[in-house]
Symmetry: C2
Subunit: 288 residues, 2 copies
């Protein structure tokens, strides 16, 4: 796959809206602001959830959500995905009959954004997943990925108030998704991987958001062995990463990063002092 | 009320955990990491939601969540709040009988964090709320509040990966709550206001998090006329603020800010060029 096979399209007309305001000097300003919309997901006639999203990839979002919630399996045959922009509805149809009435009653809201929910049986599956033990992470890749992703045109650079998630391999960013909720962004990647049959082996998951329990669970669910974040982490996120054998890197910003789990995959091949200082506009999150 | 009547307690033993990791130079490091825990909320025997929280104020969180979801009204008599730390359960009991079986079936997950849910009837009430039209916001207050809140010891400065919300009056920060989910932080403030009978009149709500639709809805629900954020905003958040007559300030960082709604409350009484540059450790969010 080539670099940025999927990249943000910050100039797309429906993703931002020009709004008028007043700045700190009292001067009028007009600026692009990200549009969030409700999207209601149905699986075979059953209403599952309503999400707030930028709605750029409702199909991947729907698929990825269902996969990451164990409502679809990798073997499921999808017979159709219908999206109605006006109604804000996406319907996923499968050959198999599905019924999650009971499942939907029991969910845990997590500390993340948007779809902050994890079902009990997701945790059961979590414990069975074996991540690729041969995967490595060169420190030069961390620096190269951060630089390339920072400099890629994005809704973040255009309008802010948005999270980014990127599926990478080595030092190559492949699929860059953004959304108001970071869980939407990772779910869109999961949906893309499923639809395009992309194996998790050797992949790296990069995110601008914090590594809370749910982001770690989703990364493991997607069988990606390495996660890198510009932001911080919670104790439970780290604990889950250690249980799963996931390599967890946080606060990856400029020359700095901290590895709190799976350090055996790290290969120190770069001199941190040679890493250029990030421009102010790329410093989307504090180093903390 | 005095400044920082409630302030973070970053050294509290149960809020962080010391974890070992490796940094960008390959050196071992030990650092404090925020602990997130599941907390299941019951209202009179009915399970309402499970939230991920730092669990420092389970009682205020429980009350504020129920208030902001219209499951309690300001007139309700609370007969008890029981918290069991081991079980991770908080139970709110009221004199009035409550039944939200139907309500719980229909919720919208928003682009926020943690409790990213808004019920349809919250939107109905939203349209009826009248915010204090006489409230003002001096630009000197924005600068003073940012500086005081930045410099107050916090879990953020200690461990990162956390949001802060502060109830303020004039240039005085009063109630400073932190949580892994910014919705928990605002709900804890709502719970505190209810229990201590603090009127929203003349108050300012300050948050480190983005102003998405849900944060705007909650601020209006709490009848606070002004919201100030270090972070950005979404188009729907701005739209709702304009509908409600809420003053919305985003990207308030250093000397800069942008006002996108309710600018008639702004009083420009400070020279932005006299505002000191923020130290790097306080720059928790990008200016965007």
């Amino acid at each position: 796959m080539r670099e940025f096979t999927v990249a943000p399209n910050p100039k797309a007309a429906n993703l931002t809206e020009a709004l008028d305001g007043i700045d700190h000097t009292g001067a009028p300003v007009t600026l692009p602001v990200v549009v969030e919309k409700p999207l209601t997901l149905f699986l075979n006639g059953q209403e599952i959830v309503t999400m707030m999203t930028i709605a750029d990839y409702p199909d991947y979002l729907a698929l990825g959500y269902l996969l990451n919630q164990n409502m679809l399996t990798l073997d499921d045959e999808i017979t159709g995905i219908d999206y109605d922009d006006d109604l804000g509805v996406v319907v996923v149809r499968t050959a198999r009959e599905t019924d999650f009435e009971d499942k939907l009653k029991k969910k845990t809201q997590t500390s993340g954004c948007a779809q902050g929910t994890v079902f009990g049986d997701v945790m059961e599956k979590f414990e069975e997943i074996k991540l690729d033990e041969e995967a490595i992470l060169k420190t030069s890749w961390i620096y190269a990925l951060s630089r390339k992703i920072n400099q890629q045109p994005s809704l973040y650079l255009e309008a802010g108030a948005i999270h980014g998630c990127v599926l990478c391999e080595g030092d190559v960013p492949l699929i860059y998704m953004e959304d108001v909720g970071r869980h939407n962004a990772i779910d869109k990647i999961a949906g893309y991987m499923w639809q395009h049959n992309i194996a998790p082996r050797g992949k790296i998951f990069y995110t601008t958001g914090r590594l809370t329990s749910e982001m770690v669970i989703k990364t493991v669910q997607m069988q990606i062995p390495i996660v890198v974040s510009r932001s911080g982490f919670t104790a439970w996120g780290v604990d889950l990463a250690r249980q799963a054998g996931l390599t967890l890197i946080g606060r990856a910003k400029g020359k700095r990063f901290i590895c709190l789990a799976g350090a055996e995959r790290l290969v120190y091949d770069a001199d941190p002092e040679q890493v250029p200082v990030e421009a102010a506009k790329h410093q989307r999150k504090a180093a903390r």
